[in-house]
């Protein structure tokens, strides 16, 4: 379905935002035709209770991402729970990336199911009609991923408005925001549809009687600065005027990842020290594998431990250490995680979720080489491990700590925070 709202004047820049509808669920419905037309709740794995994505049919029944399976099944008794297939999603996104890059030289994969295509360089001669181009993109996506896959496409003169256009448009449609109609879209959009405004900021805006972004036009800069501070007052003003907030500039100016982390939520609460140690080592090894593959090293190590969701178990613990030197070895990072940060936790609650990260990353080419013999020896060992992992896969060789335990393998997230690693 397409809406015929064509631009009345040519746009200075032409950006398309492509958003695949209900990606996780739709791709499973494409793969398993017997799931088509059925309300689906996608869970991370068999036995998991958090719905990480819902199909179009489930969304119509009121199922929202993040709801618990039991609540969702009360709302929609016919809801079918299916496990996510992350490898399948990632490969599909890589195929989409190849498709988009064949259409324009300027493509930005924004998340696993979203991308921006800058049509400006090929607008004049190759694709003079953006709406027709968008229709072709929809057809080519179906040709690439399958006939069940639909997408929204938003067209505008910047990424902020293009994304807004695709968020507010009906499933499978194309919507264009121009300077002439942008106020209409900005005034009618819910804050949930606006990229850059999270739930807390939306709540604060509404509490100040700014019920939509357009209402910001009617308050002064001093009012915004007083309530939102010097940074957010400027960002809110920019968004109300249809300009890209600072958030989008971060996409452009990060030549390498600043941080690599990994978290896992277990099936049950645990206080078993051997289990905790093995999980922390497992996660640390994945972080080191990724940063080494990207030729990075970091100097801030973070550990996060989380309790359950019930009021009596809802606790969290966070600690980090910022080092004077950069590290890129599993043994060294694990030392700081397990022997330095973990002992500072008072073990006051059982753990369900574990998180480790290595931050303040820099390319190793920007760093001086260590002359310490022990470090050089460890580096040679890691170089050998890198080669083995490259050939036989991560965890083909690992510590005895992980023997006879289920290994936590890398997986992609919907936000695709590690896209620089995934698309290397």
């Amino acid at each position: 379905m397409t809406s015929p709202n064509q631009p009345t004047q040519p746009l200075s820049q032409i950006i398309l935002h492509i958003d695949i509808n209900s990606y996780f669920a739709t791709m499973l419905q494409q793969k398993y035709p017997h799931l088509r037309g059925i309300p689906l709740g996608v869970v991370k794995d068999h036995g998991r209770q958090c719905i990480i994505a819902a199909s179009k049919e489930a969304k119509l029944a009121g199922i929202k991402t993040g709801s618990s399976a039991s609540d969702a099944q009360k709302l929609c008794p016919h809801l079918q729970l299916v496990p996510a297939e992350f490898d399948f999603y990632l490969d599909s996104t890589q195929r989409l990336k190849s498709l988009f890059e064949s259409l324009s030289p300027q493509v930005e994969i924004f998340s696993l199911d979203e991308a921006f295509i800058d049509l400006t360089p090929c607008h004049r001669y190759l694709h003079p009609h953006p709406h027709q181009f968008a229709q072709q993109v929809q057809l080519q996506i179906q040709h690439t991923l399958g006939e069940w896959v639909t997408c929204n496409i938003g067209i505008s003169y910047n990424r902020f408005l293009a994304k807004l256009a695709s968020e507010v448009s009906p499933k499978g449609s194309i919507t264009t925001i121009t300077p002439q109609n942008q106020d209409q879209f900005v005034s009618q959009a819910d804050y949930a549809d606006i990229c850059g405004i999270g739930p807390r900021l939306a709540h604060k805006l509404i509490s100040l009687n700014l019920t939509n972004l357009y209402a910001v036009h009617f308050v002064s800069d001093q009012f915004l600065s007083h309530h939102f501070g010097p940074f957010w007052s400027v960002q809110i003003r920019r968004m109300s005027q249809g300009l890209e907030p600072h958030f989008f500039s971060l996409i452009d100016h990060n030549p390498y990842m600043k941080s690599v982390g990994r978290s896992i939520t277990g099936f049950h609460l645990t206080q078993d020290s051997h289990h905790i140690k093995a999980i922390l080592y497992n996660l640390t090894q994945e972080v080191i594998f990724k940063i080494r593959k990207m030729h990075l090293a970091g100097r801030q190590v973070h550990l996060g431990l989380y309790g359950g969701n019930r009021p009596d178990t809802r606790h969290s613990f966070h600690r980090h250490i910022t080092l004077k030197h950069f590290l890129s070895h599993t043994s060294e990072m694990f030392y700081y995680i397990y022997h330095y940060l973990y002992p500072t936790w008072d073990q006051s609650f059982p753990i369900i979720k574990f998180a480790v990260s290595l931050n303040l990353l820099k390319p190793i080419t920007h760093l001086p080489l260590s002359l310490l013999p022990n470090h050089q020896k460890s580096e040679r060992l890691h170089q050998a491990l890198d080669q083995i992992w490259q050939k036989h896969g991560l965890y083909s060789v690992t510590s005895a700590l992980l023997t006879n335990r289920p290994i936590i393998h890398p997986e992609v997230t919907g936000f695709l925070g590690d896209k620089k690693f995934q698309f290397m």
């Binding site: 791709m27 494409q30 793969k31 398993y32 035709p33 017997h34 490898d87 399948f88 490969d91 599909s92 195929r95 991923l145 399958g146 992992w389 490259q390 050939k391 036989h392 896969g393 991560l394 083909s396």
Partner: protein, 82 residues
């Protein structure tokens, strides 16, 4: 219902426009005609790449996997409608 199989199979394929298109597969001395390919995708484990196909035959869905390093086919699982 999903039934894991993980058994080697023989597959007759059509190689067209640099793409493998399974036409028929032989499992336990029975030949299955591929009615439709619902999707295909790659995975890799280290340097070993696998090409996965979800194919329909007689109303059931079969997952076939082609190991691009060893050039071998595996029937991974069968999905039958509930």
């Amino acid at each position: 219902m999903v039934t894991p199989i993980n058994e080697p199979i023989q597959v007759l394929v059509h190689f067209k426009h640099a793409r493998l298109i399974p036409l028929r597969f032989l499992w336990k001395n029975r030949s299955y005609h591929v009615d439709n390919i619902t999707t295909q995708y790659h995975t890799h484990d280290g340097a070993i790449r696998h090409l996965h196909f979800a194919v329909q035959s007689n109303g059931n869905l079969y997952q076939l996997s082609y190991n691009l390093s060893h050039h071998s086919w595996t029937l991974t699982s069968i999905h039958t409608p509930n």
